[in-house]
C-alpha cells in the first residue's frame, strides 16, 4: 500500500496509459502548457511531446467530436473536458454520435474513446461550476459511466476504460483531487463490472458513489458510535449499474439510504431506489430513503453551499429516521 493523492493517482494512470500504447493521446483545454486544470498532466507536454499532449481551443463540442473521429480512425484518445459544467457544450457529440454510432451502423464501427471530467460541488465556485450531472450521462445507452471514488479506482478505472471498445466517461469529483488514499496495488487491474462494499455492516445499506462515498463513510463512523452498523456500497460504475451487489446488501440489511450529489428529482438515486423496489421490495423493512442535493442552483457562500449538498450529518440523521421509523 502506498499513500498518494487522487490527483497523483489520475496522473499515474494517464502516464501509464501514454507509456503503454502509442495510440493513446490526451487532448483538452490546458492539458499541455498549463499542466491540466487540476495538474493531472503536469510535465506531460515535456515528456510526451505536443503530438500526444494537445492543448485545444475552448471548443468542447469539436474536441469531443474529434475524439470520436480519432477513435474511429484507430487512435485511443483520452479527452479531458475540464469540468462536467462545460461538457454541456459537447452534449450533441456525446448523445448523438458517441452513444449511437455503433448500434445505428449495425455494429460496423467502434469508438474506443475515453472522456474524463471533473464533477461536483463543495469548493465555493457557485452555480455554474458546481454541477453533478453523472446521472444524466448514466441515462444514455451506448456509453459507460464511471465514478471513481478511491485512488485505486482513479488510476485503475482509467486503464480499464482504455481497454473498452466503446466510449467511456469518467467523472472525477473535483473535491477528491487533493485527498490522500491508500493505493491498493493488489486490486489492479480494477474491473468495470462490480460495485464495491467499502465498509461492511448489518443494519442499513448506504449506497453511493464518487465524492459522496467519503461522506457516507464518515456518517457510518458516527453511526458506529451509536451502535448502528451501516454497510457502505460504492457503486463505482453508474452504467452499467451492478444492481446485484446492491440487492445483496439490502437483503442483508433490509434498509437502504441512497446518497447522490445530484438534485433529487430525476436523480441517479431515484434510479437506484426504483431498482431496489423492483428487485428487493420484499426484503425491505422500511422505504428506501434518499439524501440528494437541495433543488437550488448551488450557491457561493459556504454555509449555503454546505446546506445544499449531502453531508455526513444529514446522512446520519436520515439513517436514524429510517431506523426509528
Amino acid at each position: 500500500m502506498t499513500k498518494i493523492t487522487y490527483r497523483e493517482a489520475v496522473r499515474a494512470g494517464l502516464r501509464e496509459a501514454l507509456q503503454g500504447d502509442p495510440r493513446v493521446f490526451l487532448m483538452g483545454e490546458d492539458v499541455g502548457k498549463y499542466g491540466g486544470t487540476y495538474a493531472c498532466s503536469k510535465g506531460f507536454l515535456e515528456e510526451f511531446g505536443p503530438e500526444r499532449i494537445r492543448d485545444t481551443p475552448l471548443s468542447e463540442s469539436t474536441f469531443v467530436g474529434a475524439g470520436i473521429g480519432a477513435a474511429l480512425g484507430g487512435m485511443k484518445p483520452i479527452v479531458e473536458v475540464m469540468t462536467v459544467n462545460f461538457s454541456l457544450l459537447a452534449l450533441d457529440q456525446i448523445v448523438n454520435n458517441a452513444a449511437t454510432i455503433r448500434h445505428m451502423s449495425g455494429g460496423q464501427f467502434s469508438i474506443p474513446l475515453v472522456v474524463r471530467m471533473a464533477t461536483g460541488a463543495g469548493r465555493q465556485v457557485a452555480a455554474q461550476h458546481s454541477h453533478s450531472l453523472e446521472g444524466w450521462y448514466a441515462h444514455i445507452p451506448g456509453i459507460t459511466v464511471l465514478a471513481p471514488a478511491t485512488v485505486t479506482d482513479a488510476r485503475g478505472m482509467l486503464l480499464a476504460a482504455l481497454q473498452e471498445p466503446d466510449p467511456v466517461f469518467i467523472f472525477e469529483h473535483a473535491y477528491l483531487y487533493p485527498l490522500e488514499g491508500e493505493l491498493d496495488e493488489s486490486a489492479l487491474p480494477v474491473d468495470l463490472i462490480h460495485a464495491a462494499i467499502r465498509r461492511a455492516g448489518s443494519d442499513i445499506s448506504l449506497i453511493t458513489f464518487g465524492g459522496s462515498l467519503w461522506k457516507a463513510l464518515e456518517a457510518a463512523d458516527q453511526l458506529a458510535h451509536e451502535g448502528i452498523s451501516a454497510e457502505v456500497v460504492d457503486l463505482r460504475i453508474l452504467r452499467p449499474l451492478d444492481i446485484s451487489t446492491v440487492w445483496a446488501s439490502v437483503r442483508k440489511t433490509h434498509r437502504a439510504v441512497v446518497i447522490d450529489e445530484g438534485w433529487r428529482t430525476g436523480s441517479f438515486a431515484a434510479e437506484v431506489s426504483a431498482q431496489i423496489m423492483e428487485g428487493a421490495f420484499f426484503d425491505l423493512d422500511s422505504p428506501v430513503a434518499r439524501v440528494c442535493s437541495v433543488e437550488v442552483p448551488i450557491p457561493y457562500p459556504k454555509h449555503l453551499e454546505d446546506a445544499a449538498l449531502p453531508q455526513p450529518e444529514k446522512i446520519a440523521l436520515t439513517v436514524r429516521n429510517v431506523l426509528g421509523g
Binding site: 463540442s61 474511429l72 487512435m75 457529440q93 448523438n96 451502423s105 449495425g106 449499474l241
Partner: protein
Amino acid sequence: MDAVVDRDHALDLLRQMLRIRRFEEKCAELYSGGKIRGFLHLYIGEEAVAVGAMPCFTSEDAIVGTYREHGHALIRGTPMGPLMAELYGKANGCARGRGGSMHFFDATRRFYGGLAIVGGGLPVAVGLALADNMQQRRRVTACFFGDGAVAEGEFHESLNLAALWKLPVLFLCENNLYAMGTALGRHQSQTDIARKADAYAVPAEAVNGMDVLEVEAATRKAVDFVRTGHGPYLLEYRTYRFRAHSMYDAELYRTKDEVAQWKQRDPIALFHQQLRTEGYVTDADLDNMETAIAAEIAEAVSFAEMSPWEPMEDLTKDVYTAKNGFHRSAQS
C-alpha cells in the same frame, strides 16, 4: 466539351447522376407506397456535387455525410441493394436497417454516415483526419454538409481546429440556399461562405454545383492541396434542391418561379445536352443507360423486399461491443 474529358469518363458521370436521380425517384414512389417511412431527404437537383466530387477520393479516404446522403453512398460504391434495404429498414441494409434514410454507413468504404444532426459531422471529420495525421497516413477526409451547418458553432470550431492543427480535411459545403426552409440571407449576416473560411485561414472557393465537370475539377484541385499536407480546404458547391426538404413540405419559403428557374439548370439535362452536342452520347446510349439503371433499381427493390427483418432478439445487440456478456448481464 473540354478535350481533356475522356468520353468514357463523361458517360460515366452522366450515368452516375442518372443512377441517383432514378434511384431517388423510386424512393419517393416507395415512400408514397408506405415501403419507406420516417424522413426521406432527396438529393434530386444536387446530383452533380456527389458525382463530380466522389471520383476525386481514393478508397483509403474517408467520407462523412449528412442526412441527405443517398447519392454520396451510391457513388462511393455501396451497392444499391443494401441501400434500398436500409431504406426499407431491413436486416440486409447497409446499417442493418437501423438507421434508414438518414444513416447510411459502410465501413468497408470508409463511409461514416449519415450523421443527421446539422453540423455534427464536422468535428468527427476533424478527428478522422487527426488520426490519419498522427499515424502518418496520407489520407483525406471529405466532410459534406449544407449551408445550414455554417450557422452552427461546430462549423466554426471545426474549421479553426483543422486549420490550427493543419489537418487533411476537405470541407464540402453543399449550398442549396436553404436551411430547411430558411434562406441563407435570412440566417446569415455574411452570405459569402468562403469568406467565413477566410477568417480561419482556410483557403476556400465557390463553384457551380450544377456543373459536374466544374465540381470535379475544383474538387480534384482541393483534394491535391489537402493530401499534400497543406491543411484543410473548403469548397462551396452552389446548388439547388428541386424537391421538398424532406418528402413533403408546402414550400411556402420559395416561389414556383424560383424552382422553375433552377430547373433550367438541371445538372443532368445540361450535361446530357452538352454531351449530345459534342457527339459523345447518342440517344441509343442514353436508352441503354436508362435500361441498365432501371434493371439495377428493380434488382435493388427486389433485394430489399426479400431481405429479412432484424430478429427482435437483436434489438439491443451492438449498443455495446459484445464482450463476455459484460453489459448485457449487468443491465438486464
